[in-house]
């Protein structure tokens, strides 16, 4: 059975549109389910972020708040206005320390408690993660020297 040129083209276009439709469906579903929003501790309180949702929290590690017990670590992240308690099991990044800008990803248990499964810290003490810098600026706790000499580097999981 010989197909006309038109039929062939229709099959081609049909297949193409079919694959595109499937891809669009996949993308839309994935965008609904698997993206993670970034919030500062203040955002969590003000925006009433639901407990149980998977988010990223960023800010500075509150000085004096780090409690380590072997691989379990508890610390607070602050944006200068609000704090949130974070618990984490695992090895913290190389430059995780007090006063350092960090981003933690995990699940919110309630508006003040957060269980992180990933902690990101930048590799240079002068550098601040972009989200954290923005959040601090918003709370008016930004010091100009934070932003000086931004360097590359990121510890991650």
């Amino acid at each position: 059975m010989a197909m006309t040129r038109k039929q062939r083209r229709l099959i081609l276009i049909g297949t193409g549109l079919g694959v595109l439709a499937i891809a669009a469906l996949l993308v839309l579903t994935a965008l609904k389910d698997s993206i993670v929003f970034f919030n500062s501790p203040t955002d969590i309180v003000e925006k009433h972020v639901k407990p149980g949702s998977r988010i990223r929290v960023g800010g500075l590690v509150q000085p004096g708040s780090i409690v380590r017990n072997n691989l379990d670590a508890r610390f607070e992240i602050t944006d200068g206005k609000t704090e949130i308690k974070v618990s984490y099991h695992g090895i913290l990044p190389d430059l995780f320390r007090e006063g350092q800008g960090v981003v933690a990803e995990g699940v919110l248990t309630d508006s003040r408690n957060f269980v992180a499964d990933t902690v990101l810290a930048k590799h240079d003490e002068n550098y601040m993660p972009k989200e954290v810098a923005d959040a601090l600026k918003k709370q008016g706790h930004w010091k100009d020297d934070y932003g000086k000499a931004p360097r590359e580097g990121e510890a991650r999981k």
């Binding site: 694959v19 891809a23 996949l26 994935a30 389910d33 993670v36 970034f38 990803e105 989200e131 580097g153």
Partner: protein, 659 residues
């Protein structure tokens, strides 16, 4: 003095590029052969001056001339000599200079080896290439000048980011750039073809080796980057779907599509308009990648610095080139004549299938990479799109492609026999089922998807072998005949089979790494033993030592299997005083294709230390597959047909469709 020479050489290269951007194209318009022929010497001269400039910067680094700001920022006198060389491109300015150097290098190659190109096409290609060079030379000179002086000169440099002090850095960026920038040739050819309003099979035959070469480098560059991240970042991950990784993966996907569509165009003169579009898109994605990485809109290990002026400049380049090329495409593409017709089930059809899935998969990665940027610009919401998104979109699109891959080469041109191809793949399919079932039996209770994925990978590999077996008619002809047929096969046939086989190899590595990795994270005291995947790893204690520009604390671990010592691991943590930062140095023990991976966490005062220990089965296959893929590309590239290049002019007229 040396820095000034480098600076002036770069300015001269810019002037030459301007001339190269005007004269050859004017020559073509005015039908003046002498004028059109100026492109080659100009391209070669441009390359020489950029090379001089690059050599000058290298000299500044090697002699630790800290009066040059760039050297002060990124080098240290105590750094090993190798890293003094590699830190030339371990920073924004230097890496852009490398970008320009490679661009000029490719331009010079076209000038030197493009002798068999029609004069007009060659002139146009060099003209287009010159405009890309102009924009990036301007970018370097105006926003990222590596030769800026610092007065008074400091005594010591600020050192290179410790993560970048690694042999991985020596190779990853040059290979990646050779890939990125190599696609500029395909782009220049596409634009030249659109300017001329004429394209034929010979065009595809010239473009294919350049695309293939770029693709080989990009494949190696991505693999190197992945392996580097794997052992340097200390997390044992080899691919994070990080925007910067995606930036290199996007041109790889569309470049792979371009390679395949160029085959159709060369063999059957079909898909011309599509091939041109892919050539434009592939280089556009390289530019997008450069923009994402270099503008600082993303913060990652690659964002050397953030300077809005640079972002705006690259964005402008991006818009001018992509917009310009697409506009030219919309205007001129209808002039191109359609080529041969083919049935949906045919080699062409299979290659269209390949292109469809590759480009759609590429589009989903593109959306996932840019969506956070777009959303933040529009609503201010900050989100991160990570692995779950890409696993949910990319993988479902990759699976049909992988399954269809063995069928493609077995289908005939014009009209293929799917049933016949399926029959010939029965053996491959049976092997795949067997291996899949064996995997399921061995890993009972494990992930359900893993045996399927392993089976698919084996199908891909066995299918690639089937292609060679079928072409040589092994098992069907008497051995001597089959042998002669096998030896007589073109190298590109082996190249195809090897590259396809290699994809299966990589897939096995990915599946095993993803599903069967064992992980132990714990605090270990000296004398303790940790058991993982049949190995006993005992901790002997911590040792401190002084490196050239760092201090290191490392753990000593002995690995035993059934009581016999099989190796020693010394994961370390290095502190670099010049920058006050530290890195983890993971230790790896290779057993066959599998690896034991240990990275050191924080050492405690009592001599114990937190450690992350992995057993990663078959993990090396991920990169071995990439190497084999590049090897397949190289085999194809060495094919006589491509090496000899385009047909002679007399033959060419026969190949051209009637105008």
């Amino acid at each position: 003095m040396i820095a000034e020479i480098g600076h002036y050489a770069l300015v001269l290269a810019l002037l030459l590029a301007f001339i190269q951007g005007v004269l050859p194209i004017a020559g073509v318009r005015l039908r003046d052969n002498a004028l059109a022929g100026t492109g080659e010497p100009l391209a070669i001269a441009q390359f020489c001056f950029v090379a001089l400039s690059f050599a000058a910067l290298t000299a500044c680094y090697v002699t630790s001339d800290f009066s040059v700001f760039n050297v002060f920022q990124n080098s240290h006198s105590a750094m090993p000599l190798l890293y003094k060389f590699t830190s030339v491109w371990g920073n924004h300015e230097g890496s852009m200079l490398l970008w320009v150097l490679i661009l000029a290098f490719f331009g010079a190659l076209v000038a030197l080896f493009g002798g068999n190109l029609p004069a007009a096409l060659r002139a146009s290609v060099l003209g287009v290439q010159a405009w890309i060079a102009i924009s990036f030379l301007l970018f370097v000179l105006l926003t990222s000048n590596p030769f800026v002086r610092l007065a008074p000169a400091p005594f010591e440099g600020r050192d290179l980011n410790p993560l970048l002090q690694d042999i991985g850095l020596a190779l990853h960026p040059p290979f990646l750039y050779l890939g990125y920038v190599g696609f500029s040739i395909a782009f220049a050819f596409a634009v030249a073809a659109l300017i001329e309003g004429r394209i034929d099979a010979a065009w595809a035959r010239w473009v294919r080796p350049w695309t293939l070469a770029a693709w080989i480098f990009l494949t190696l560059g991505i693999a190197l980057g992945s392996y580097w991240a794997y052992y340097e970042l200390g997390w044992g991950g080899w691919w994070f779907w990080d925007p910067v990784e995606n930036a290199s993966f996007l041109p790889w996907l569309s470049g792979t599509a371009l390679l395949h569509s160029a085959v159709v165009m060369e063999k059957r003169e079909a898909l011309k308009v599509w091939t041109i579009l892919l050539a434009i898109l592939t280089f556009s994605l390289s530019l997008v990648g450069t923009f994402l990485v270099r503008s600082g809109v993303l913060t990652s290990v690659h964002a050397f610095a953030t300077d809005p002026a640079r972002g705006v400049f690259i964005l402008t380049i991006l818009i001018v080139f992509i917009g310009g090329a697409l506009a030219l495409y919309a205007w001129r593409a209808p002039l191109l004549r359609q080529g041969g017709v083919f049935a949906p089930i045919s080699r062409e059809g299979a290659l269209v299938f390949n292109n469809l899935f590759l480009t759609v998969a590429c589009a989903t990665v593109f959306i996932g990479t840019l969506y956070p940027l777009a959303l933040e610009a529009l609503t201010g919401d900050k989100i991160s799109v990570g692995a779950p998104f890409f696993n949910a979109t990319f993988i479902p699109l990759a699976l049909p492609l992988l399954f269809a891959m063995p069928f493609g080469p077995l289908l005939a041109w014009k009209r293929g026999d799917l049933y016949g191809a399926a029959q010939r793949l029965i053996a491959a399919f049976a092997i795949a089922i067997l291996v899949g079932a064996a995997t399921a039996a061995l890993t009972k209770g494990g992930a359900i998807l893993a045996p399927f994925a392993i089976g698919l990978a084996v199908f891909v590999m066995a299918g690639a072998l089937t292609d060679v077996v079928e072409r040589a008619q092994l098992f069907r002809q008497p051995w001597p005949v089959a042998w002669r047929r096998l030896v007589g096969l073109p190298r590109s046939a082996f190249g195809t089979a090897l590259a396809h086989f290699a994809l299966g190899v990589t897939l096995i590595g990915i599946v095993c790494e993803s599903y069967f990795t064992a992980e132990r994270i714990s605090t270990i005291r000296p004398g303790d033993t940790v058991a993982i995947s049949g190995y006993e790893i005992s901790f002997d204690g911590l040792v401190a030592r002084q490196g050239p520009n760092y201090r290191e604390v490392s753990g000593k671990l002995i690995v035993r299997r059934n009581g016999d010592v099989v190796g020693m691991l010394t994961p370390g943590k290095r502190t670099f005083p010049a920058r006050g930062n530290s890195t983890s140095e993971a230790a790896l023990l290779t057993r066959g294709f599998s690896q034991i991976y240990v990275s050191l966490g924080d050492p405690n005062p009592d001599g114990s230390a937190a450690m992350r220990i992995y057993h990663k089965p078959m993990v090396l296959l991920i990169w071995l597959g990439a190497l084999l893929m590049a090897g397949g590309g190289l085999l194809s590239l060495s094919d006589r047909r491509l090496r000899v290049g385009a047909p002679k002019p007399a033959k060419k007229t026969a190949l051209q469709p009637a105008q």
